[in-house]
Every structure is written in structure tokens, then in C-alpha cells.
Amino acid sequence: MAAPPRPESLALLDRLMAALEAKGVVTEAEIAERQANTDKASPETGARMVARAWTDPAYRALLLSDGKAAAEQMGVSMAGAPPLGVLENTPARHHLVVCTLCSCYPRAVLGYPPGWYKSFAYRSRAVREPRVVLAEWGLNLPDSVEVRVVDSTADYRWMVLPMRPAGTEGWDEARLASIITRDALVGVAVPKVAGPRPAA
């Protein structure tokens, strides 16, 4: 787990904030407001986008051709954000997203990147041995499924459009969204229907 910041880093932040405030560059209130806005972003947005794509072919086409426009249709402001590419999983191809250089992530639709996404182990291994990483996390893909790893960058962000699982026929968007996890939107998991399947 991430270690807490060291005292010298806390002191550096205090000195920097004090100097910026003294120069009239920023205020503590501005920072707090920005943080509150950032805290509001969550993977629920990405989940809603996928749920709609599963039920609305026109939205699916938009999502795959212009992720930013699809996010904006959900009421998310994407102003100033880099393009959002959406990767369609199929029975023959699974996508996994990583940012090898740091932590680039579609934050407007997924929130803060989790700690593991920023970890040195994930960044280095996801591109070298993706199947091993996925298997360690409980996702065993058959050899017949191609694994395509996509590197998110400062200039282009990626999200996965997972496959709709069997057993969700007739579900509405909200119920579908409830099984679409952040991990599935990054590609380290696939959506699952919880509990025993009803007898046929």
C-alpha cells in the first residue's frame, strides 16, 4: 500500500501554498473547491455509458467513435480533456489499459486512478505479461482470446467497452450499470452476474 507522505513533503506543500497565496496566485478556498469537484468523478459514469451502449445501438456507435462526445451526452464536462478512445471487447479480443509512463486515465468518467494502476508493478508488467497479471487477479482468458494492451497517454485516454454477460436479458440500464465495475472498464476484470443463475 502507498506509504504516507514524508514530513518534508508535507512541509514543502505548506511552503509552496503559503508562497502562492502570498503572491495572490491561488487561495486555499480555490484548491478546496477544485478538490470537491474532482472527488465527484467516479466510475459510475463510465458504467452508465457502457450500460447505455449495451441497450442503445446508436449510443454504442457514438461511444466507439467519439468517447468524449458520448461522455458529454451523459452530462460530463470534457472541456480541455484529451480524446477518449473506447475499446470494444469481443469474444475474440480482450483489451487491457495501462499507462506505462505514469498514470494517464480517463478521470472525468472513472474518477481518480486507483493505487494499483499507478504502481510500478502494473505499469511494467501489464505490457510484458498481461495474461499473467490478469490471471493473478482471477481473470483467466483462454488462449483463443487475443489480449490487446493499450497504453494510455497524456494526449489520449482509453476505456474498455466490456461484453454484456449472458443472463442480463431484459435488464434496464440502471441494473446493467450495477454490474459494470471500474476494473471491467480498465480491462482487469469482466462484468459478472452475481449469484446463482436461475434454472432454465
Partner: protein, 97 residues
């Protein structure tokens, strides 16, 4: 297992052999208060056109290897941001301590 060729820069760790036996921990914790504040500060400074993402990256990617791996994620960000603000003359050098 040693890497066969020198890595181009320390941040460019995709495929790096030294992490091959390191499990990816399920670290789900959101950023702590320090991290969230650094994150918000970067956004506000960017909104005010005082720094860009590319400048942030340059600052992070020029951190010496030992510090790069020892510092926490938002500690690397803060070091970059503070360095940029000093470099641009927005705050004095004394901020760096």
C-alpha cells in the same frame, strides 16, 4: 533478470524486468488528503495557464532514479510543481527549503 538494454528514461518502465516478480497489489485506497490537495493544486495552476501537463511530466521524469522510486506518487508531482513554480519565477527559491 537484468534488462538487456538500458532504459531510455526512468519513468519509461513498461516491460522493465525488475518488476516481473512483483505482484500487483490490490491497492484501492483513494488519494490521501495530501495527494488530493496536490492534485487540486495542479489543476488550478493549469487552469490559470501557469503550468501544463507536459511541464508536470518533465519535472517528474527528471527526478533522479533513487528518488523516483522512493517518493510517493503525489510526492513526485509536488516536487515537479514546486520546481516549475520556482523555475518560472512565480515563487522564490526558498520554497524548496
Amino acid at each position: 533478470m537484468p534488462d538487456e538494454t538500458p532504459i531510455p528514461a526512468i519513468h519509461d518502465i513498461g516491460g522493465l524486468a525488475r518488476f516481473h516478480c512483483t505482484p500487483v497489489e490490490h491497492d484501492e485506497a483513494p488519494p490521501d488528503a495530501f495527494g488530493k490537495k496536490v492534485d487540486a493544486l495542479r489543476q488550478v495552476l493549469a487552469q490559470k495557464s501557469l503550468m501544463t501537463v507536459d511541464e508536470l511530466r518533465r519535472g517528474i521524469e527528471s527526478i533522479p532514479e533513487g528518488d523516483y522510486f522512493a517518493l510517493g506518487y503525489y510526492e513526485r508531482w509536488l516536487r515537479s510543481i514546486a520546481g516549475l513554480m520556482v523555475e518560472k519565477g512565480i515563487v522564490g527559491k526558498d520554497v524548496l527549503g
